[in-house]
Symmetry: C2
Subunit: 199 residues, 2 copies
DNA sequence: ACCTGAACACCGTTCAAGT
DNA sequence: ACCTGAACACCGTTCAAGT
């Protein structure tokens, strides 16, 4: 139900209830139980649709590395498109269901780059967990900014640091470098993991 | 409040309510509002204590790489020690508050290994997000196994794959390699990110 | 076949009242 | 100063009853 996504995006995930959805659709709150066995089942359908978003246009060029980058960049953007919904994605096990298209694509590219299965499995899971962790942290922060100042907020750095310098000198040295563009920072991490892959 | 952690661990995070905690402590459900402004504030205190758990004994040996490994392995274990609580850690922004000790330690080791600040920042965030994503996924699965069969369950592989082989040949090739020991798989991902670090 | 709405067993939180 | 308990405004879900 696309209406449910709309409710979550405009009202926030916390305000999403059967009663709120019923009011939005102008029907009885209990009518949804004809289409979904439970609120959890409805939520799971929403999460799957977010993860699958845009996965039909995954590129298959002559550069495996670029294709993998595109895959995970797209996943990150899909998650960030619904910041208040994104944190709930962790409720679903990664690597199954909605991830099939994405993981099959990524593993195929790793094979094509000449990587053996064991390495491919590790690199794939590292990429996936890194992407989920990074995007969901960013989404959470973006969601807070949205509810604080309405539309048009940018959320700030994905992980800002404000430690007392005298106690944590090394941390404070690094802090300025955490304030850069979030997507660039994300892609740098991807490249770090993909470093050994032939370009 | 350590009693709250006990309630979460035995009853599951879903059953944690002010009323349930009150029943456990044999006091009125509203008595907690003298010590915590809100249920959220109480939960945040719990999450912080989990992240900080054991961070006092972070090693500082002559091998920066091993020290960083120990840091993130310890973080993973702290999260997995409270599997039903762990997913809620994402509600807090990483990189602040409870993470100070851990991130300061990790960044100090990266410096000591001769890494420049920009690289150190990226490597640190990559490690953190990878660890959070990996451990929280594993914790979620472990929590499900626990509530399904009581104590003594192992939770199975952190990301099992059961895709139709005819549609996803590459994925099916890799699936067997995802079923190995979860901690070994986690450490392999860490090493992947730390590959360039001098040993 | 599908929707309705009353009802049940819960929530978090507030606040006047007690000691 | 701290705890109590009634009360308020919510939840998800069920089920007999309507069309």
């Amino acid at each position: 139900m696309a209406a449910a996504i709309q409710v979550v995006d405009t009202q926030g995930a916390g305000a999403f209830s059967m009663r709120a959805l019923g009011a939005f659709l102008e029907c009885d709150p209990t009518a949804m139980y004809r289409h979904f066995r439970t609120k959890n089942a409805l939520l799971d359908a929403l999460l799957d649709s977010v993860v699958r978003e845009g996965s039909a246009e995954l590129p298959q060029s002559d550069d495996p590395r670029a294709d993998i980058r595109a895959n995970f960049r797209q996943l990150r953007r899909s998650l960030l498109a619904h910041p208040t919904l994104a944190p709930l994605v962790l409720r679903r096990p990664p690597g199954v269901g909605a991830y099939w298209e994405r993981s099959d694509h990524a593993v195929a590219q790793l094979h094509r780059a000449g990587m053996d299965p064991v390495d491919a499995a590790n690199v794939y899971q590292t990429l996936l967990f890194y992407t989920l962790g990074h995007a969901l942290s960013e989404a959470r922060q973006l969601a807070r900014a949205l509810e604080r100042e309405g539309a048009g907020a940018d959320g700030g750095p994905v992980a800002s640091v404000d430690a007392p310098p005298e106690r944590h000198p090394d941390l404070s040295d690094v802090a300025p470098h955490l304030r850069d563009d979030n997507e660039a920072q994300f892609l740098a991490g991807l490249d770090l993991i993909l470093r050994d892959l032939p370009r």
